[in-house]
Amino acid sequence: MSTERKTLINYIVEMAEDEANALARKMLDNGYDPLELLSHCREAMDIVGSRYEQGEYFLPELMMAGEMLNDISGIAKPLIQHAGGEEKKKSLGTIVLGTVYGDLHDIGKNIVTFMLEINGYEVIDLGIDVPIAEFISAIEEHEPQVVALSGFLTLAFDSMKETVEAITAAGLRNKVKIMIGGGQVDEAIMFHTGADAFGLNALTAVSLCKGWMGEEATT
């Protein structure tokens, strides 16, 4: 492992955001491959994620790491596009995601978005309290393989069901896999809503997408 790579990963994992930002900038200024740099960030996020799973890290660390990654991506992404749009090729698939109408919760959704993005998927995040029609038009426009419906409130279950029904009515149901998450979803709710799968955390969302769309063979 190169020293710079190791140091960058270490800064992110240890929440040293100023140092991580400065090093990333320096590496890119010196001509470091932006895609490779982002893959180091993903490695760092895997470590942060596993520390979170093990109870060593908590939500603030996940969010801070997310902010750091956003900042570094902000610097790296224009360079990737400049280098010929390789990033687009790298996307493993597209997910249209949003918190269903009537529900305003976004923490879980944002974590899922973030975890999917760093795992190589393109995420079209429609935000919170998303009207059914907006899901339909986003599916038509972006032709995703997966639709992810989020909701924390119990009332979200009905919104999810109506959204799935509308996707079916629009003739789009057999073109997408639908996963639900947030709050108290379980198998009964999955059947109630007509979704294909449910997840209790962001890592499950990533596993589901990997199962449906595959994953990168190498990092």
């Binding site: 939500l59 603030p60 119990t154 279950f157 009905d158």
Partner: protein, 292 residues
């Protein structure tokens, strides 16, 4: 500081708690009765009932749970499901005599679900109104400013008083307590400031204010750097600041301590600092609560 005792709506009958979920999964009414009784014995003034997704798929079970709990406790119930159809079953099943003649609570009505106010025609009830979201251009929007919280509280209260003849004492405003661990937008500050505006409005004198207290300290480690129990200290930091603004009810666990913290408490002072920050600054300050 002398403080009026907070009224507690016991929160434990909710599948969000792992041990309670097992009771629901096994349709263990005896276990649910014991849990309700335990909450009453620990000082609950109401028992909140949330049976999660089963309210949609098995409404008969909701009625069984209500009857079972009312056989075990003699305090009133709060029905936690934002749907008219589910509230209808709950309110029709509720036996007011078994609760010493006290009204149940409809939990909850928001500005974009005003139709749920019609449930009041089923039986006189107290109502929890959600002040964290508002109706704008036909859609629900999350409030980000104290004035928006206050505006919703005022509009919904006025409607309940003028159209449904509710007493102010029957109106409970849920000011919505955000999880501190994810509050990068100053939403706890918003709730506290919104409460102050409601508290100082003479037209709203007599209404109650509540919040789900268990949210505030979630997703954080057990101990603060000073060794104090972090989650509970954060809950108490919130009540310490909220009660003087008219916060007089909690949706919480009756055997937890929600009394105010001493003025010089480490967590209270950090809490005050964090809620005035946003973004990464808030997260950094929060982290200093548990990381040296």
């Amino acid at each position: 500081m002398t403080q009026q005792k907070l009224k507690i709506i016991g929160e434990r009958v909710n599948p969000g708690f792992r041990s309670t979920k097992a009771l629901f999964d096994n349709s263990d009414i005896d276990g649910i009765q014991l849990l309700a009784k335990k909450q009453q014995d620990a000082g609950a003034d109401y028992i909140n009932i949330n049976i999660g997704s089963r309210a949609l798929t098995d409404i008969g079970f909701m009625a069984d749970v209500i009857k079972g709990i009312q056989d075990a406790v003699d305090i009133p119930l709060s029905f936690d499901f934002p749907s008219f159809d589910v509230q209808k079953i709950c309110l029709e099943t509720y036996d007011q005599d078994k609760a010493g003649g006290q009204k149940p609570i409809i939990n909850s009505i928001s500005e974009h679900r005003e139709d749920m106010m019609d449930a009041l025609s089923i039986r006189p009830s107290k109502v929890i109104i959600m002040a964290s979201e508002r109706l704008e251009d036909g859609a629900g929007k999350a409030n980000k400013k104290a004035e928006e919280v206050y505006g919703v509280a005022r509009r919904l209260s006025e409607r309940l008083i003028d159209k449904f003849n509710l007493d102010r004492d029957d109106i409970i405003i849920d000011i919505s307590i955000t999880t501190l661990a994810s509050d990068t937008e100053g939403l706890i500050r918003m709730a506290l400031d919104g409460m102050a505006l409601i508290h100082n409005d003479s037209d709203l004198k007599g209404v109650h204010m509540i919040g789900g207290i268990s949210n505030v300290g979630m997703m954080l480690p057990k101990k603060a750097v000073d060794g104090s129990p972090l989650k509970n200290s954060i809950e108490r930091a919130f009540t310490t600041l909220a009660c003087p603004q008219g916060f007089d009810m909690v949706l919480g666990t009756p055997w937890h301590d929600y009394s105010p913290l001493q003025e010089d408490h480490f967590v209270l002072n950090k809490f005050k600092e964090i809620i005035d920050l946003k973004g990464l600054d808030a997260l950094r300050a929060l982290r200093s609560l548990y990381k040296l």
